[in-house]
């Protein structure tokens, strides 16, 4: 039987070992294929250093984060009430569901031409695309969360003489919150996914811009891959933060069905 500390060591050592394997395979593959497009890990590290030296890296990271978070926040601010209303009034949901289901599979990237026409060369264009990416998952998760609130909770709320709005705020919303949070995490992931493409239009900063600019200005594929790697690492960080929310005591009950 492995002891507790064995498992702890395993949790750290196994991913490190896997990362080493990936790096070795990557290096060998670059060497054997003699590619001059795909950089070796060492070149990528040098590329990151170069960017840090120029002082642009942090600015790009912060610009990307700012765009994602503002687009995402607007999606939450508009998406949560929309989802609550659709979940609460079944008629509203059956009326608007087809429209939502049609809009949902349209990639935010398809909106690019329109975004440029509407917002021109400005911060608003990429933020709008990120908003679109996060909006629909937020609406759908909130709506489904509200729909699946057990009627017994709503009945209890009515019994205590609460108004419909008070029931929505003090019963339905907290009861739906675990499921809604899962949707928020999904939406944040999509928002970050969209940032790369969104920053290929209208702006001249950010990690998405870094990638397209490195390719256009001198085919610097080491910087392209550096940008990709940073996007991956920051994406993981955002997801880890979002997962933290699920540990809050007032929602934790909704996430422990398997372990309880």
């Amino acid at each position: 039987m492995p002891t507790r500390s064995d498992r702890g060591v395993e949790r750290v050592l196994l991913p490190i070992a896997a990362a080493v394997v990936v790096l070795v395979v990557w290096t060998l593959a670059v060497q054997i294929s003699h590619t001059n497009v795909f950089p070796s890990p060492g070149k990528v590290v040098l590329g990151i250093r170069e960017l840090m030296g120029k002082g642009v890296l942090w600015l790009y990271v912060l610009d990307s984060l700012r765009r994602v978070l503002s687009g995402y926040l607007v999606a939450l601010v508009l998406g949560i009430p929309t989802g609550l209303a659709l979940g609460w009034y079944p008629r509203l949901a059956s009326a608007f569901n087809p429209v939502i289901q049609i809009c949902r599979p349209i990639s935010p990237l398809a909106w690019m031409p329109l975004a440029i026409v509407w917002f021109g060369v400005s911060e608003a264009a990429p933020t709008f695309l990120i908003f679109l990416g996060a909006f629909f998952p937020t609406v759908v998760a909130t709506m489904n969360g509200v729909k699946s609130v057990p009627s017994i909770y709503i009945q209890a709320g009515r019994n205590f003489g609460l108004s419909a709005f008070a029931i929505l705020r003090t019963v339905v919303f907290p009861a739906a919150l675990p499921q809604v949070l899962t949707g928020f995490r999904l939406a944040l992931g999509i928002a970050w996914l969209v940032v790369v493409a969104a920053e290929m239009i209208a702006v001249d900063s950010g990690l998405g811009y870094l990638i397209i600019d490195s390719r256009n200005a001198g085919k610097r594929y080491d910087l392209v891959v550096a940008g990709m790697l940073l996007i991956g690492i920051i994406g993981l960080g955002l997801d880890t933060l979002a997962r933290r929310l699920e540990k809050l005591k007032s929602v934790r009950w909704g996430f422990q069905a398997e372990t309880a």
């Binding site: 009945q155 209890a156 009515r158 019994n159 205590f160 009861a175 007032s250 009950w253």
Partner: protein
């Protein structure tokens, strides 16, 4: 004068806390009407503990939902203090199985749920009082997830009592508990009932439970439900569960339902 007193006699249900008058309920399933309750009449006195006893699916929960104002009967009315019930009311609280406890609130938060309109001080005082009454001292800040079934049930009873209702409706409240916890909870409920003097309408399918708790047991038939018999349990609390009277009463209900009490 004579006419007046005759009227008063007819209006006798007004004296009852809860008066159920000719209540019938028909549900529509796949276009076919299904009679669930037919012409039920029942009076419950102020402070009385009445058990509605019947087999699963006989419509006793439907009856409780009608009395609680969550369902409208197809025919008939329910009067409480002489006024027709038109919807749920915080003066009469429904207690479900422990599933009704809000998992996103602590024990305190649950018990204080119906007290939002009170000043913080009064609210805290009442929460403290009912935490103690149901024996949950020390668990104020704990979330329901970390509580046992019996403790969750206590939280729900305390949440109902905290708004100081005159009537409690209990729908098979101890159905999900193990048999030992169930016995303890029955004792607790009786203790609380004696301390708080509430009128209680308690739905159960457990014959023993009804005889242990109630002043009167209303024995229901299978669907469409009618009242077969009302059994007066003329035993003071605490009741001796091996006394002859207890066994007589229990067995008469077994017979009424048509069950031989042998296995």
């Amino acid at each position: 004068m004579v006419v007046k007193s005759a009227l008063a006699a007819n209006a006798a249900p007004e004296a009852a806390k809860v008066a159920i008058w000719g209540v019938s309920m028909t549900f529509e399933t796949d276009g076919k009407p299904i009679d669930v309750l037919t012409m039920l009449d029942l009076d419950v006195r102020e402070g009385e503990f009445v058990c509605v006893l019947g087999p699963s699916g006989c419509g006793k929960s439907t009856l409780l939902n009608i009395v609680g104002g969550f369902l409208r009967p197809t025919r008939g009315t329910v009067l409480i203090d002489g006024e027709p019930v038109v919807g749920p009311d915080p003066r009469r609280i429904f207690v479900f199985q422990e599933r009704g406890v809000f998992p996103w609130l602590t024990v305190e938060g649950n018990i204080g749920f119906g007290l939002a309109s009170l000043a913080a001080e009064e609210r805290a005082r009442r929460i403290a009082y009912y935490v103690k009454l149901v024996g949950l001292s020390g668990f104020e800040k704990v979330y329901p997830q970390e509580l046992s079934g019996g403790m969750k049930q206590r939280v729900e009873v305390a949440r109902a009592l905290a708004v100081n209702p005159d009537v409690l409706y209990l729908d098979e409240p101890f159905g999900a508990l193990d048999s030992i916890t169930r016995l303890i909870m029955r004792g607790e409920l009786l203790r609380i009932w004696e301390a708080e003097k509430k009128t209680i309408l308690f739905v159960t399918h457990d014959i023993e439970e009804s005889v242990q708790l109630a002043d009167r047991v209303v024995v229901m038939s299978t669907r469409p439900a009618t009242i077969r018999r009302i059994v007066e349990i003329d035993m003071p609390h605490p009741r001796d569960l091996s006394s002859r009277r207890y066994i007589e009463l229990r067995d008469s209900i077994f017979e009424e339902i048509g069950l031989a009490h042998k296995i």
